[in-house]
Amino acid sequence: MNRSIAVTVNGEALTVDIKDNWTLFHLIKDTLGLVGTKDGCRQGVCGSCTVLVDGMPVRSCMALAARCDGKVVTTIEGLRENGELHPLQQAFIDAGAVQCGFCTPGILLTMAAYLKEHPSPSEDDVREALIGNLCRCTGYARIIRAVMKVSAA
């Protein structure tokens, strides 16, 4: 079954033909060619596929594209502000919080949404907010440090 949905992706209003059985991940990656969203487990556990839907972190591998009609979607490509790196992106670079980088886009979006709602979290708050984003390389220490740095600013 095909349908047409209206979806705003990274600030661009689009009308896209989709199939009912498409996930949001498929729409983002295969149809729109936005490479930055990653596929880590296809079970909704690792969080690598996280994008923002109406500002809220969503596991795109578990979300149906059909449900995104009328929604605003932000992928890692849309995190930049006025062509500049988002403060979190810069903080990750500065803190050495990026190793293989596969989990990074999902974590950046999750934390960007989190800080918007909780501008002054404690370290324990951040640690808890990160629990659904798996990283195998960094041990999370520098990621949390980078988030705390941005929240203090």
Binding site: M1, L64, G132
Partner: protein, 286 residues
Amino acid sequence: MSLPSFEYKAPGTVEEAVTLLAEYGDDAIIVAGGLTVVILLRERLARPSVLISLSDIPELSAITVNGNAIIGATVTHDQVTRSAALAEFAPLMGMACGRVGSPGIRNMGTVGGSVSHGDGASDTAPALLALGAEAVIAGPDGQRTVPLKEFFFGVFDTALEDGEILTALRIPPASPGTQMRFKKYTCTSAEAYAAVTVATALDLTPDGTCRVARIGLGSVAPKPMRAVEAEALLQGNKLTPELIAEAANVAAGETDPPSDGQGTSGYRRDMTRVWVRRLLEDTAGG
């Protein structure tokens, strides 16, 4: 990553949803947050021709507190944790929903989905059981309610009949003086499935006598359960350390835990004893 082919339908009312379900019968699956259904589809464990989404039905995504609390079937765990009304009415709900998976899972997963799936490892079901909740069900013959303690039959087997949809959980008000505690105990990562989940709601008199006791348990039986024998032991009695220990023992004996990645059945029975005891001790002390 791909899912098998299906048609997506998003009715705007419960009646429409029931009608669609009657029309397609076994060829249709109801979907709310999608976390369970998408996995079933991806693994090819189900191949429905139609997915009936409840997301566009406004009344199902509402939390209403008015005498009772009504949690619509598509309310997400995240929404529950944010609800000030529920925090006051039944703090146990926020405690439980706040421990489901991770924030990303809580954004998408629904209370209704968790209950209607009949998963013995649901973390919210024990809390709802301890609150004496009822399942509100819509079907071709109209609406009916089933006390949640009679809703779970067995492994992924519930009181929902063909053509029926769980539309809400209804929680009665707790008597003043009711103390609620919740613990999800995991042996592996903090974000894992539980070895045992315990939810307690005890109505205590000022001198520590238990008027009403409800103990909900998850992950230690084929279905979410109440430790009814332990509850009976506590009811009407003063919460002494000896009684608490005995009740915890009895509760452990009522379980029938599986052996899997979260622990062996023997260990989980032991942990039921430990955590029921700890929650009761905390209740008595606090």
